[in-house]
């Protein structure tokens, strides 16, 4: 039905049925990571470093091992040697080797017959450290006298003579920068800083791992990607991938942070040492904050040239980011996304990936893009104010369109930035009058979206209902959107489709639910799988009717003669075909695997109104508007939910969230009391507008909507605070204290 292009009339796509997993989740029946238990199961606990940087001189586990009920203790000595590259990084992060590299770094782990015993045993492990100087801030880490975190960690991209904590370096761009700046009426350059934030998913990491002496194992785990868990655990422990079977649990949030491993290999290593008894490990919130993967922090210089009419003439970005004690800060993504909304003929990007004594960063919703946007969109806004230009008009004037070359290289296909900005201009929020101490901020945001390795199967049950097996855990309503698409495609009720998120033994490799890919990639593969089943059902009908299979078409949930010449037969429904498939050739199913082509990027723009208490500097969000191109909203409620969730995480990042370190290099706020995620009463209802510029690369036009929404809030709120107070904050978070200080500096 989609082969001739994009349909615009749908029976189910675009409707808002209840999600298939909804009842389970509101009744507590859904099984999350910590809900899983097995007979004979042990409980694990992890000893973590209290130091930001220290040599491990000695680990004495004898007292822990002697404790009654303790069945296994592991240290790095229980892991294979000789790993390289990212495998070594993962292993080193799982369990410290010669040095601990951050506060919270795992040093040893224990499995015992109860959680309390395991925790008691952990306290009995004695570790002798030689504390080393540490470095936390990215700009400090590249100073000449900074403590060196790991000699030789730099890759070939780093030019000779750079500080040793610079482990990746990049520069790219095009055009004549000098001429571009010379052609501008206004050239401005500023430095912006963002602090590390955590995804803050509600569900802490949890797993049950079981591994026998035969190197065959199983794992039940809360993850965004069971194949990634399998691959990484096997790399770290020296196992064969197909011998480990990984089953994902229901997932209470991930936002990118559950696309990698943390304590999962420890449960397997402990189980192996405890004669194959399963070992459960559940992280506390403090462990989650100290020892999983927050995002990077950034220090960013941006320079932009603008004409009096708002036309951009040239732009340059130099970003420095630390992503913890290992390579992998998303500085490249930040650079790609920063100028992406703008048509630029002269642009230069320089990036530094820097080590610091912090936990290894993981993906967090559009990794890098919010930082890039904070720097670029803030400066654009500052320049608009200086030139007296409307920030929406300036964005429209410079907006990229289909066929334009992006700031980072590739040409854009079909994109919807102009449509998004038009929708912003027409929205009633922009007409709301602002009172004293109030301000309005506007910013754009961008995310590429992603395809990724995808393998999907579907099959028809004997009663004509349909099951779909996908490898992408449902983190944002994808079971609903996949059910809608498959039901639409087959012409059957939504309720007749069940989408199962399956374990690693059931399908070929799937990348995690990341890159906003599940509805796009698993959706496209599900539709292509369904096409195979439809073809087979048409063949069965043709056989029965004694006509050519080509003369049968699928419509309204049934095989039908394709036209008057095909013969006159009543439609044969899916239920009828399924009911007798045992006699007509056996099971009917479909399967598709690929790197689905045709990814569609998503642009968004946000408008925020704030009021700042002039005496305390407290920022209140009065109104918040998200406008974003979804391509096609399969289930609009869950698209809106993604828009709102992205905005709220961005609001938290902008106003209060940050990793706060003491002089000793220890994390000061590993608890939600002091790591301040917004609470419901901090927020207005987030208004949303779904723009639909269909993606021609997907049968229903899907782009992927999960990530773009976290990008604009950081600069939009900074600009709104600027208008409300006259003070521009260039260092996140914009806490009341910092806003008040900026206002006082303004006054004096």
């Amino acid at each position: 039905m989609a082969k001739d292009g994009l349909n615009t009339e749908f029976r189910l796509v675009g409707t808002r049925p209840n999600r298939p997993d909804g009842l389970d989740k509101v009744t507590g029946r859904a099984r999350y990571g910590a809900d899983f238990s097995l007979p004979g199961m042990l409980h694990g606990a992890v000893l973590r470093s209290p130091h930001a940087h220290a040599k491990i001189l000695k680990i004495d586990t004898s007292k822990a091992e002697a404790l009654d009920g303790v069945k296994a203790v592991v240290t790095r000595a229980d892991f294979p040697e000789g790993l390289e590259g990212e495998d070594w990084n993962l292993q080193e992060n799982t369990m410290a080797g010669d040095k601990v590299l951050y506060d919270g770094h795992a040093v040893a782990a224990v499995a015992a017959t109860s959680k309390l015993l395991a925790e008691e045993a952990v306290r009995l492990i004695e570790v002798e450290y030689e504390v080393l100087p540490h470095v936390i801030d990215v700009d400090d880490a590249i100073k000449p006298d900074a403590p060196v975190i790991r000699e030789g960690a730099s890759d070939a991209s780093v030019p000779e003579g750079m500080p040793p904590n610079v482990v990746r370096y990049m520069e790219f761009g095009r055009g004549d920068l000098e001429a571009g700046f010379a052609a501008a009426d206004l050239v401005r350059e500023n430095t912006y800083k963002t602090e590390a934030t955590h995804q803050g998913y509600i569900e802490p990491h949890a797993c049950v791992g079981q591994m026998g002496s035969d190197a065959k194992g199983e794992m039940w785990v809360c993850t965004q990607g069971q194949w990634f868990i399998r691959k990484m655990c096997c790399a770290v422990l020296g196992l064969e991938a197909s011998q480990l079977r990984v089953t994902p649990s229901e997932i209470g949030g991930g936002f990118g942070g559950k696309t990698t491993i943390f304590m999962e290999p420890l449960s397997l290593a402990l189980s192996r040492k405890a004669n194959g008894r399963p070992v459960k490990i559940v992280m506390s919130r403090s462990e989650v904050l100290r020892a999983t993967g927050p995002t990077a922090s950034g220090s960013m210089d941006v320079k932009i040239g603008m004409k009096k009419d708002g036309t951009l003439t040239a732009a340059r970005a130099e970003f420095r980011m630390q992503g913890g004690a290992f390579p992998g800060a998303p500085v490249d993504m930040a650079l790609y996304c920063g100028f992406a909304p703008y048509k630029l003929d002269a642009v230069e990007h320089v990036g530094y990936d820097v080590l610091a004594n912090r936990p290894k960063c993981a993906a967090y919703r559009a990794p890098g893009s919010p930082m890039g946007a904070f720097a670029v969109e803030s400066l654009i806004d500052e320049m608009c104010r200086e030139l007296g230009l409307d920030p929406v008009e300036v964005r429209m004037k410079n907006a990229v369109r289909e066929g334009d070359q992006s700031s980072y290289g590739p040409k854009f296909g079909s994109i919807g930035l102009v449509e998004v900005l038009e929708a912003v201009k027409g929205h009633s929020n922009l007409a709301e009058p602002l009172g004293p101490n109030q301000g309005r901020g506007v910013a754009s945001g961008y995310w590429f979206n992603h395809n990724g390795e995808t393998s999907v199967s579907m099959s028809i049950a004997a009663d004509g209902t349909v099951q779909v097996s996908v490898g992408t855990p449902d983190i944002g309503g994808s079971r609903a959107s996949l059910s809608l698409m498959v039901a639409e495609h087959l012409g059957i009720p939504y309720e007749d489709v069940r989408v199962n998120v399956v374990e690693t033994g059931s399908l070929g490799e799937n990348e995690p639910t990341h890159g906003s890919r599940a509805t796009f990639a698993s959706g496209k593969a599900a539709i292509l799988s369904t096409d195979q089943a439809i073809k087979e059902m048409c063949r069965r009908a043709a056989n029965e009717w004694g006509i050519d299979p080509e003369a049968v078409e699928w419509a309204d949930g049934a095989a039908q003669p394709a036209g008057p010449n095909a013969g006159k037969f009543p439609p044969m429904s899916i239920k009828e075909i399924a009911g007798k498939m045992g006699e007509t050739g056996g099971p009917i199913s479909g399967h598709h695997e690929s790197l689905p082509e045709g990814v569609g990027a998503s642009f968004g723009a946000h408008v925020v109104d704030v009021e700042v208490d002039p005496e305390t500097g407290l920022t209140k969000i009065l109104r918040y508007l998200v406008v974003q191109d979804a391509g096609r909203a399969i289930h609009p409620s869950y698209v809106e939910g993604q828009y709102q969730g992205g905005a709220v995480q961005g609001i938290g990042w902008a106003l209060n969230e940050e990793y706060i370190y003491g002089e000793d290099g220890r994390l000061q706020n590993p608890i939600f009391l002091d790591y301040r995620i917004p609470v419901a009463s901090d927020l207005p209802m987030i208004d949303t507008v779904i723009v639909e510029v269909p993606n021609p690369g997907h049968p229903y036009g899907v782009r992927g909507v999960g990530e773009t929404g976290i990008t604009p809030p950081l600069p939009a709120i900074a600009s709104a605070i600027h208008q409300a107070t006259g003070a521009r904050l260039r260092h996140l978070p914009m806490t009341p204290q910092k806003v008040r200080a900026a206002m006082k500096a303004q006054d004096s």
Binding site: E119, S284, S286, E615, T616, L618, L655, N656, I660, Q668, N669, F672, L673, D674, R676, P678, V679, S681, D682, T735, P736, Q737, R740, A741
Partner: protein, 288 residues
């Protein structure tokens, strides 16, 4: 760990006096159970007070004063219309502790004995002139609330002593109190600064006042100079400025992850003004 279910305060005091290692009393448990789960405190003896008769009672005596049992949860304070009418500042302080769920268990006494300088229910009690009854091996004594905390996590309670009751004085006429705290978030947060004001009017003029500050010193402060700045005034702008200056001057905060000393000093003055205005309005009959 030994768990004890005490049936009288005397018994609880005796158990505590004879205990060797770390002892904790359990009423609401919203501090101690969380601390145990987090491994911060691993008591050798945990003494449960909830079975002691009267710990869940909240009584207004004939003279108008109040007795509040040590296990009365915050939710019941807010549900008592008479207490809300008499001491709205005390109630709103307690109601800021934790979430709705926590309010079902958390108690005034527990919040006080936790010894946090940022405890939200304590400034209101101090401004109100509340006292506590302490039971110990040597008998009972009464202490003003402001004398209970002696430093972060520390109290004036001796070994074997525990609080057996909180007493609020009779409110009387033409009076009002209020508590405000400053937090970056609207809920589920901990005070950067807290301030309670209690005052009485004669006509438009303030004739009695008590001002208390939280989170700006090792203990919650009773600031006489701040009260003096508004006594005898109609809370005009000059009085408010004097109040703010006195509150800021009394604040001796540290700089930490929750706020710098400089910021806390400034906010202490801002909150004092705002809390005084609310208390004044309530004394005039505002229902807020």
């Amino acid at each position: 760990m030994n768990y004890h279910l005490a049936t009288s305060f005397e018994e609880a005091a005796r158990i505590a006096a004879n205990a060797g290692g770390t002892t904790r009393f359990l009423a609401g448990g919203t501090d101690v159970l969380v601390q145990m789960r987090a491994g911060m405190v691993l008591p050798d003896d945990l003494i449960d007070l909830k079975a002691i008769p009267g710990t869940d009672a909240m009584t207004q005596l004939a003279d108008g004063s109040w007795q509040i049992g040590v296990a009365v949860p915050g939710a019941r304070l807010g549900a008592n219309a008479d207490l809300c009418r008499d001491w709205p500042g005390v109630v709103e302080g307690m109601e800021l502790v934790g979430s709705t769920q926590v309010q079902g268990r958390a108690t005034l006494t527990g919040n006080l004995c936790n010894g946090s300088p940022a405890a939200d229910s304590v400034p209101g009690l101090v401004a109100a002139g509340a006292t506590v009854v302490i039971t110990g091996p040597e008998g009972s004594r009464e202490l003003p609330v402001e004398e209970v905390p002696t430093g972060p996590g520390k109290t004036a309670l001796n070994k074997g002593e525990l609080i057996s009751e909180i007493r609020l004085p009779a409110r009387g006429d033409n009076a009002g109190d209020a508590y405000l705290r400053f937090t970056p978030r609207t809920e589920m947060d901990i005070a950067v600064v807290g301030c309670a004001v209690s005052l009485r009017l004669d006509g438009d003029k303030i004739v009695e006042a008590r001002v208390s500050l939280g989170a700006v010193a090792p203990t919650v402060l009773l600031v006489a100079e701040a009260a003096d700045a508004i006594i005898g005034t109609t809370l005009d702008d000059a009085a408010l400025d004097a109040l703010a200056a006195a509150a800021s001057k009394a604040a001796k905060p540290i700089s930490d992850k929750r706020g710098s000393a400089e910021y806390r000093i400034e906010i202490a003055g801002v909150l004092a003004k705002r809390a005084a205005k609310i208390a004044y309005g309530r004394a005039k009959g505002d229902n807020k």
